[in-house]
Symmetry: C2
Subunit: 180 residues, 2 copies
Amino acid sequence: MSGTAADKLAQDLAEAILAGEFAPGSRLDEQLLAQRYSVSRTPVREALRQLAATGLIEVRPRRGAIVAEVTPKQLEDLFVAMGELEATCARLAALSMSTTKRRKLQALHERMGELAKTDDAMAFADANDSLHEMIYEGSHNSVIADMTLQLRRRLAPFRRAQFHLEGRPPRSHAEHDVVV
Amino acid sequence: MSGTAADKLAQDLAEAILAGEFAPGSRLDEQLLAQRYSVSRTPVREALRQLAATGLIEVRPRRGAIVAEVTPKQLEDLFVAMGELEATCARLAALSMSTTKRRKLQALHERMGELAKTDDAMAFADANDSLHEMIYEGSHNSVIADMTLQLRRRLAPFRRAQFHLEGRPPRSHAEHDVVV
DNA sequence: GGTTTCATTTTTGTATGCAAGATGTGACGT
DNA sequence: ACGTCACATCTTGCATACAAAAATGAAACC
């Protein structure tokens, strides 16, 4: 085991929240969490602070932590922000990308084109993540890449919802087409 | 006093670090800080975690916290990132800005044009902050605005250095001119 | 002389105790 | 019945205590 208990807790909690195990707005009682994970309140508190920094939860001084409620407006803002950041990544990547890398990207993009037809949502999602990761790396700017990735993770559950909602893969592919 | 001791500590520490009171790479001993600020280690730890989230310091598990060393490459990345984010803010603002707001912006911009000639660095810096704040607000996207502001704060000391280095105000004004 | 190993010490991470603020409940008054 | 105020309880925030890991230094060995 590498990290501290608090770090692991933060990860576990983040997953639990993103998985919807805690409803938005619900209180995150320190003692309860401590019991649930068989640790004391101290690492729980640290984990909560960590998560608060990512925006996943909200801690009001002396009033406890709650799962962040994302209003439609905020959600919209988050999506817009991610879109803009990804576009920036893509632009930077386009400027400073070696031809071999570009090849790989193109290849992956085309394979995704095929996957989009087969309706294999899982495979498409995986490939999609790879592609975005490549773009983030390609930007050669760890600051922007990190911010974008963080946003992306935070939006993961909502993206999934959109994914299942309609035939998103083809549209997504089309958008990528423009970028590439 | 509204906030908790940990929050205040985080602010104070951030200021101290940005003011250069702690050299980059230097260890931040929890006990020392606790004594220095007359609190126990607990709030110090929480403050350190908070600062780590902003990228100002770095905490290695079980190895203590150090002031983040910004390599030239990272600094470059930070500046690029801020530039891109501000550009995005400006673009969004341009799209959704009322004419009255636009007026105000223009007025402020022109006043800065005059200030740029008078060599009053302080006044120019103040006006500059106001202008950027207006743009952030104008984006109508709190997510991007927050990220940009956070970056801006983190880069404050370096920006100051650049400011004093050469006649930056005129150049800055020229850049703004394009944006406006 | 340099290196490795082991013990000491220092420092971080976690648990627990205690105080202060927040929350909830019920009596009391209008 | 409704609102208010006092009180009891619960939760968070801070301090202290303890455990474990890493840094330090010294002695033994090559």
